[in-house]
Assembly symmetry: C2
Homo-oligomer: 217 residues x 2
């Protein structure tokens, strides 16, 4: 992730982002101090404020970093799917897959940081204080694009049913990103929170059936 040609300042910046990501994901915004982060990154306390201005802005930078690549990937997969079935329309499953799969990719390929980012998004999406700013600003533009396609793929579906369906999908998706390990215990080890391929393979048919059930009514 870190190019060998980076300047010292950039290395510090990236280290701070990486450690902040891990710590915020585990303890939440208020559960982590600037000191915790700079200590974990092995840099001086003052550098967090020098590079990011404030703790708030550092959090925002962490949240934004991977949101951009994830959203870009979502759009690529969506346009791919649309093209593949043009001039017809793709199955609902493929549209949902284009939305959910980039999350799995980041968490699988992004190592500890990628998994931490998933946890972070899960907490932000479920926080009344943070969801309005974080999710709305960084994710909703792409969600609106998906809603357009869903509308086309499910003709005649009422708007309310379409939005509520998305809401339930969002809940299922973000709880999966949280990787809390709760289901591991509940299922006596049969299901594992970190088995992302198992989860995402099931999330698509589960939610597709849900969308169809609501849109039928």
């Amino acid at each position: 992730m870190r190019a060998p040609t980076q300047k010292r300042g950039e290395i510090t910046r990236d280290r701070l982002l990486d450690e902040a990501e891990l710590l915020f994901a585990l303890h939440g915004f208020d559960g982590v101090s600037i000191r915790d982060i700079t200590k974990a990154a092995g840099v001086d306390v003052a550098l967090a404020n020098y590079h990011f201005g404030s703790k708030d802005k550092l959090f925002d930078a962490v949240f934004q970093r991977r949101a951009e690549s994830m959203n870009a990937r979502r759009i690529v997969l969506l346009e791919d799917v649309l093209e593949r079935y043009a001039p017809g329309l793709p199955p609902l499953e493929d549209v949902i897959g284009a939305f959910t799969w980039p999350v799995a990719e980041i968490m699988i390929e992004g190592g500890d940081g990628g998994r931490a980012y998933g946890r972070l998004v899960a907490q932000v999406n479920n926080s009344p204080k943070l969801a309005q700013v974080g999710m709305t600003r960084y994710f909703d533009p792409v969600v609106r694009r998906f809603m357009e396609v869903l509308r086309a793929v499910l003709p005649g579906c009422r708007e309310e049913e379409l939005f509520w369906s998305y809401h339930f999908l969002s809940g299922a998706l973000t709880l999966s990103m949280a990787e809390t390990g709760r289901l591991d215990r509940l299922s006596d080890g049969r299901c594992r929170s970190d088995d992302l391929k198992a989860i995402f393979a099931r999330m698509v048919p589960f939610c597709a059936a849900g969308f169809r059930a609501l849109c039928k009514a």
Copy 2:
């Protein structure tokens, strides 16, 4: 909620629980100080530690308080449904309804505190640090009972599919409890996070269809 015959100490205790519930729900455990809570409750700073021992234990007491009545209500509704269809088995929808509806009841009938409690559970369920203790201890015993009934109602369904289906239901349910208002904006006001009857009426068919889709495969 507060009996007129309560002693002064009990009133203080209840006030602290009520205000802690509201504040923890909005800002999370680390976003609230003992001073914030005692100030909101109009009692002395030292009384929180006198009555509850520590901030951790106060949080735990808040979380446990409504969990007990919610779980009791879930079991009552479940046994009702089972009895109504005996010696046969109830439809999947009724079982899911017995699990989800008590949440709506508490949030609708419990006023500001009830809604705050929903937000609190949403955050705990999505937190890697808190979910293991909070959810596992207070909710999983009842969930295990529901899993037994779901197993009976969906004969031949593989265990993994059953547990993952519950996981997705849990995500949809807790995001609905969070009432973040995100969907309100996204849908340009067509859907409202606080319209609990609209949400819970749709959650049942959405998730029932999901369970059936996964168990069929």
